[in-house]
Each structure stands twice: as structure tokens, then as C-alpha cells.
């Protein structure tokens, strides 16, 4: 084999092995870092793994937001506007766009008492925008 051919072959093998490794590492990383998203009825029905990092979302139930008397702890209910409702506990400052009756997504863990311990709360940034995760819910709501 001519030397430049051999070089070419080396480069191709190198690229192939490199991209294969990248794909494998990425997929492995994805397995570990994927957050599954759940709707309120799934949380309520108990099919959601406990004490695992997940995301959930729905609408903040009007009148459900209760601040603790000291500290920044706050509890509120997330509902799918039908029967399913779960309680969220969060320590910290709620996002400025967080409002009762509006959509919110929470990230955190569901504990064995059925309370969602949120590490992050995301509120939508624009009243015309509905996160794709919650779209199904809005459509259900339409008569």
C-alpha cells in the first residue's frame, strides 16, 4: 500500500472509532441524565418512581399557594384542571412569572408521602405560550 493510502486508511479508522466512541459515550450520558416528564394524573396514580429526579407540570391551583411562616418554604398544588392534583414543596424564591392559575413545570423528586420536593420551578414567560408538555392538557380542556 502506498504511504498516503495507508495514512488515509489510518485517518478513516481513527474517525470511525472516534465517532463510535462519541456516540456510545453520548448515549450512556443520556441514559443517566434524562429527565422524564409526568402529568398530574400519573403522579397521583402512583406509577411514578419515588425519590428519582423527574419533572412534572400542570397548572397552579388557585388559592393553593401557602408560604411557610418563616423561611422561603412554599407549598402549592399542581392540577391538570380535572381531578388529579399533587402538592409541591419548594424552598426558595419563586420565578417572577409564577402565578396562580398559570402553567408551571417543577423539577425535583416525589417523596413517599406523595409530595413533590421541587429543586426548580419554571413558569412560562409569555401568556400566549404553552409549553409542549402541557399542550395536551389545554386541548383536553377545550369543549
Amino acid at each position: 500500500m502506498k504511504s498516503h493510502r495507508r495514512r488515509k486508511l489510518t485517518i478513516i479508522i481513527f474517525l470511525f472509532v472516534g465517532s463510535l466512541a462519541t456516540v456510545l459515550i453520548s448515549i450512556f450520558a443520556l441514559q443517566n441524565y434524562i429527565n422524564h416528564f409526568y402529568l398530574p394524573d400519573e403522579i397521583v396514580s402512583g406509577e411514578v418512581p419515588l425519590e428519582r429526579k423527574i419533572r412534572a407540570g400542570g397548572f397552579v391551583k388557585p388559592g393553593s399557594v401557602v408560604h411557610e411562616s418563616a423561611g422561603l418554604g412554599v407549598q402549592f398544588d399542581i392540577t391538570d384542571l380535572n381531578d388529579a392534583t399533587f402538592r409541591v414543596h419548594y424552598e426558595g424564591i419563586l420565578p417572577s412569572l409564577f402565578r396562580e392559575g398559570q402553567g408551571a413545570i417543577v423539577a425535583g423528586r416525589l417523596n413517599k408521602n406523595g409530595i413533590f420536593a421541587a429543586s426548580h420551578v419554571f413558569a412560562k414567560h409569555d401568556e400566549n405560550y404553552v409549553p409542549p408538555e402541557l399542550k395536551g392538557m389545554v386541548e383536553h380542556d377545550d369543549p
Binding site: H4, L15, G18, S19, T22, I25, S26, A29, L30, N32, Y33, I34, N35, H36, F37, R55, H67, S69, A70, G71, L72, G92, I93, L94, P95, S96, L97, R99, A107, F122, H125, D126, E127, N128, Y129, V130, P131, P132, E133, K135, G136
Partner: protein, 641 residues
Amino acid sequence: MIPELGHFSAFLGLMSAVGIALFGFFGANQNRASWVDMSIRLTKVQVAVLTLSFLLLITAFLDDDFSVLYVANNSNTALPWYYKVSGVWGAHEGSFLLWTLVTAVWTVLVATRARHISLKLHGYVLGTLGVLSFMFLAFLLFSSNPFERLVPNVPIQGADLNPVLQDIGQIIHPPMLYIGYVGFGVTFAFGIAALATGKIDSAWARWARPWVNIAWLFLTIGIVLGSWWAYYELGWGGWWFWDPVENASFMPWLAGTALIHSLAATEKRGAFKNWTILLTLLTFTLVLMGAFLVRSGVLSSVHAFAVDPQRGLILLTIFVLVAGGSLVLYAFRAHTLNTQVQYWGVSRELLLLINNALLVIAVFTILLGTLYPLGHEWLVGGDKKLSVGEPYFNAMFVPIMLLLSFALAIAPISRWKHTPMRLVLNALIFLGGSAVVALLLPWILADGVHLGVSCAVALAIWIMVTHAIACYRQRNALTLGFIGMSVAHVGFAIAVIGVAVTSVYTESKDARLKIGESLEVSGTDYELVSVQPTESQNFIGERARFDFGVQGSLFPERRFYSIREHITYEAAIAPGIFKDRYITFAGPMENDTWGVEIQDKPFQRWIWFGAVVAGLAALIAMLDKRYRRLSQRDLETRYSE
């Protein structure tokens, strides 16, 4: 009348785009100078009518013409005039009109400023830009018309501009970003033209390089502005979230960075020709994919525009046409650009190859993380939604960047073809020195040693040292190109330090405070001194005063925008070279207390400073003599080929 005139002007822009494309392509194909000149003339027409169209939309905003749907949705009489103007690009339709205007401006610049390139190439470049412009304008006019009327029920008041967009950052961030995005459309056109002519030599690379640099400069500035804006405006002090829309801008940036480096090898050594062309195509393909992701609403993002499936479909079609068409052309024509270039050992070619491989891997991992939720939804079904969080991106991206830093530090001492081992070993010795400094520094600052940060800082210092030494050694023969490269790499190193330090050593605390109480963060006490009401034309709110240190004061606000019933936190920031103090004020809580979050963010500014330095370095490199000198000579050869 004004909106109809604006709509009509945009339509004339569409017509000119047809002309630009036809005269450009056929002029190049038939080698007819008069046709290419016609194409050049039409680019001027196009930029004139689209500027008019854009100005007319601004007029509609300034006149509070709420009979126009887009104005009614995104403006309000109470809005200050400058936000009325920037409201033009505050949502989908108007921002896309700006996008088409930017395309027209780039096209006219290429038409008039690149007269020294060969006629064939020029014609194909303009033809390609004409086709892109046509697709953008068709999309604008047929599915996103910003001039659409709301008749007969004209509202007396507009819905107001989204308050988080009422900010200086929003005024300049999108235009910069679009200039960068569409600038890569120009390099895409250069790539297509190279495939069409079947000729790519160092002259082609010299023509393309300044355009790539300037597109990259604007995209860099655009991304930095977005990051900086998110940092101070969204009120939680984050500067990068790996949000799909951020990724949509970051992937073309990474591909563009790879392109800059690949072009260097193509220009100087005639190496990587096929690869360079592929990168010009890939970069713009990523731009279009980003536009699709952002504007179709398929992804969950804080940035996404309101959802419209029809728009998504049209954008997807444009994306498939451009990406598919260009790749097919590439598959048929790329072999004509064969190269035979020899290099061995730690040559500059090898380092550039490593750079490109790592950057493309970075693009790929980000692409995978961004599209994975979508792919999962399509393949597995819509029931189970999932998302890929920051940890994935950090886990993938950080190691790639550290490897890249390593290769980058050797870059300035490397030579084309082959680098003597002595030089490489020399460079490695400096790595040892930098590592010692990086390990000692945290001890001196008494913050505790963090291995990752020490690695990053060691590599960053090493990069600065090797570039400084290389510049010193070449002091008698320094070109602007070499200076530009060095400054860009040092900028990168500065940003690396900023990212590493601020990510690990940021300290954040939140609390409920009464007036007179204080909160200690990172050794400083912040006292809540007072809370005063505040108001403006379109909001009311509270303004708090925090005192810290000897005479520091910060005044964060919480605002309530009554028209949209929208609350924003206006964080107060005390910026500094070595640390930012960042206070978010969340307003009243029970028992006369106020919600507060205080953050101490060391080296925060270094991220943006480094990125801006790197961006400006692209400008320095562009001014290199060799890009100017050729104009006269090439002018003479323009018609001879």
C-alpha cells in the same frame, strides 16, 4: 395605507430575489457579465424595498396603529418610543422581517464589495443568496405577514410588549444574532459556488475568510449579548441554561469556529478542501435547523415563539430543501476538489484537524441532547415526555473543551507540515509551570482547591503563555492574521477561566428579611435598609436598598406590569473584575418580610469579556494585508477566466 405599502414593498423584495437568483445563476453559467451585473443591480433594489418595508413597520409601531395585528399584539401606547421600535423584532413576524432585511443587506454587500472575485463565482454566490432570500421572503409573506390587518374590530389599546423584552439587551441582541446567522448564509453561498465552479484554491479561501470572520464576530456578539441579558434580566443570575434555543445558536457558532480553522488550512496549504466546503454547508444548515426549532415551537423552551404548526412545516421544508439540496450537490461535486497534502507528526494541520474533530463532536453531542426529546416522542409515541437537562451537556461539553484547550495551547508554536519535537517539548514545560500557578492560586485566595477548576485554569494560563511567547518570538514578522489568532485564543482562555471559576465558586443564599436585617454571603453582610414604591409609564413596583461593605449599595426592584399582569424581578448587580454581587428582590411576604436572594459570583465578567475579545480578534485577522492586497490584482483577472 402604510401597512399595505409595507406589505407591497416586501413583495417587491420577493420579486427582486427571483431576479437576483436567475440572473446570478444563469449569468455565471453562461459567463455573461451583463447578467451578473443585473443581479448586482437587483440586490440594491431589494435592499431598498426591504428597508422601506421595515421602516413602514416601525412607523406602524410608532403610530400605535393597532389595526395591524402584529402591532396590537406587541405594543401599547404607554410604551416608550424606543421599545416601540424594538418591539418590531420582539416577536416572530417582525423579527423575521428583520431577518429578510439582514439577508438583503448581506447580499448587497457581497454584490458590491466582492467585485474582485471571479465572475462565475460571484454569479453563483449571488444566485444562491437570491434563492435563500426568496425562500425567507416567501415564508414571511405567506405565513408570517407582520402587516396583517385586524379589521373590522380594531382594538383601542395594544397588548403591550412582553416586559422581559423591554430592555436594551432585547434592542440589540436579535439584530446581532441575525447578522451572524445570515452571514453564514453568505459562506454557505461561497460553498455552493465552489461546488458549482468545481474550483477551490487558496484564492477562494482568501475571498471566503473575511466573510466567515465577520459572520462569526456578529454571532459571537449576539450570543454574548443573549447570555448577558439572561443574566441580568431574568433575575436568577444564570448566564447559560443549555436551553434548546441557546443550543440552536451555539451549534452554528461551534461549526463556524471549526470552519474558520479549516479555512486556514485550506488557504495556506490547500488542505481539507472537501471538509471546508462541507462545513460551510453544515454551519448554515444548523442555522436553518435552529430557526425551525425556535419558530415552530416543537421544543419546550423559555424562548420559543407561540406555536404555529403551519409555520413549522414551511420552515422544515426550507430546511430540508437547503440541507438536502446542498448535500446532494456536495455528493456529486466534492470529488472534483481533490487534495494531496502531506504532513506528519504534531503539524499545524494535525492540530487543526483535532480542533475540527473536537468541535464537530461538540456540535454532535449538543445536537443529540437537543433533539433527543423530539426523536423519542416521534419514535416511542407522544405519551412519555422527557427532557435532557444541564448535567448531560456539562458532562459532555466540559471534557471536550478541556481537550480542545490542550491542542490549542500548542497551536501557536506549531508549524505547517511538521513541528520539530523540541518546540513541542518546550511548550509542555510551560504546562508544568502553569499547573503550579493554577494549583497555588486557589490556596492563596483561600477558597479551597477544586480539581476541575485547577485543570481549566492551568490550561488557560498555559494557552496565554504559549501565545505570548510565540508572538514575542515572531515580533519582527508579526502579521495581523497571527495577532488575530493569538488574541482569539487568549480570549478563549479568559472565558475558560470565567466559566470554570464562576460555575464552581458561586455562592448563593436566599432568605426572608425584615427591614434592618442582613444576610451574610461569602463573608459580606448585606443589610436590607429600606423598601420604597417605584413606578413608571407602564409598571409599578417596589425598590429595595441593600447596603454592604464600607459604602456599597444596591437597589433591586420588583415590578408589576399592569397591562399584561406580569411581574418581573429587576436584579441589582455590582459588577467587578473579580466578582459580581447579584441581588434579586422578590417582593413582600407575610409578617413584614421581604424575599431576597443574594449571590456572590467570582470571575463572572471574564466569560463575556473573553468571548468579546475573541470576537474582536476575528476583526483583527480580517484586516490582514493579504485580504486587501489581492483586490486590485483580482479585479484584472475577473473577466479573464
